[in-house]
Amino acid sequence: METKTFPANYKNLAVISKFIVVQAEDAGFSKSDVYAIQTAVDEACSNIIDHAYGGEDIGEIKIKVNESEDKIQIVLIDRGEPFVPEDIPEPDITSPLEIRKERGLGIFFMRKLMDEVIFNFSQSQGNTLTLVKFKGS
């Protein structure tokens, strides 16, 4: 298992992406799966900065990556405000441009691109987001 902690700011999104891409490539995922995993993690980190911390450089994002034969599991931990995914409505991606609401696109991406997306909050641990992708899924 590889664990790294990053200051939660937008500049670090590129650094985090590099870390995730290396892990996903090492785990043997296809190019499109690596891109999907990279996207899901970028969206997760952007959401943590925007919503959990409510701004840049307020806290940190700890990322644990666990690879096994058939999957990669990425756990993102922050100490920001509790995140309640049920509060974010799923975007209607077919609604016309003039009336379409944009909130929730990041979570929508995560759910479409990963096989498991699990949000948890505890007073002791903070927010824990677990992303799982199976090989060939």
């Binding site: 999104l13 891109y35 996207t39 969206e43 952007s46 991606i93 441009l97 696109l105 991406f109 479409k112």
Partner: protein, 111 residues
């Protein structure tokens, strides 16, 4: 991310290189807004050298496109969009909001 704007007779070309994410998207928003303030409404965006596009990047273009459509002035079109990057437009359902061209010459000729 790096960004170069070239002015044509009837349109402007923005060539972007690198990652478009929550860090770099505001720089693109600034350039798009500056073009619109200068009455430049026909905008071609070359994504050939873009290696990553997040939802915040997509929404930057979508918001600018919405402004243009609301004012009934010009539009943003894309050229040379890498397959994986196009996949994100598709996933978000925004591939129907823009025109996509295979090369700059074809896109320029549309304006």
């Amino acid at each position: 991310m790096e960004l170069v704007v070239t002015e044509y007779v009837h349109c402007d070309l923005i060539e972007i290189n690198g990652r478009i994410d929550s860090y770099s998207a505001p720089q693109i928003e600034t350039v798009l807004n500056a073009l619109m303030v200068d009455n430049h409404y026909n905008i071609i965006v070359n994504l050939e050298d873009v290696i990553f596009l997040s939802s915040s990047g997509i929404l930057t273009f979508v918001n600018a496109q919405r402004k243009l459509k609301q004012q009934n002035k010009g539009e943003i079109v894309f050229v040379n969009v890498p397959e994986l990057v196009f996949g994100s437009f598709e996933l978000a359902g925004f591939h129907v909001v823009f025109k996509f061209f295979d090369d700059i010459t074809t896109a320029v000729s549309r304006f």
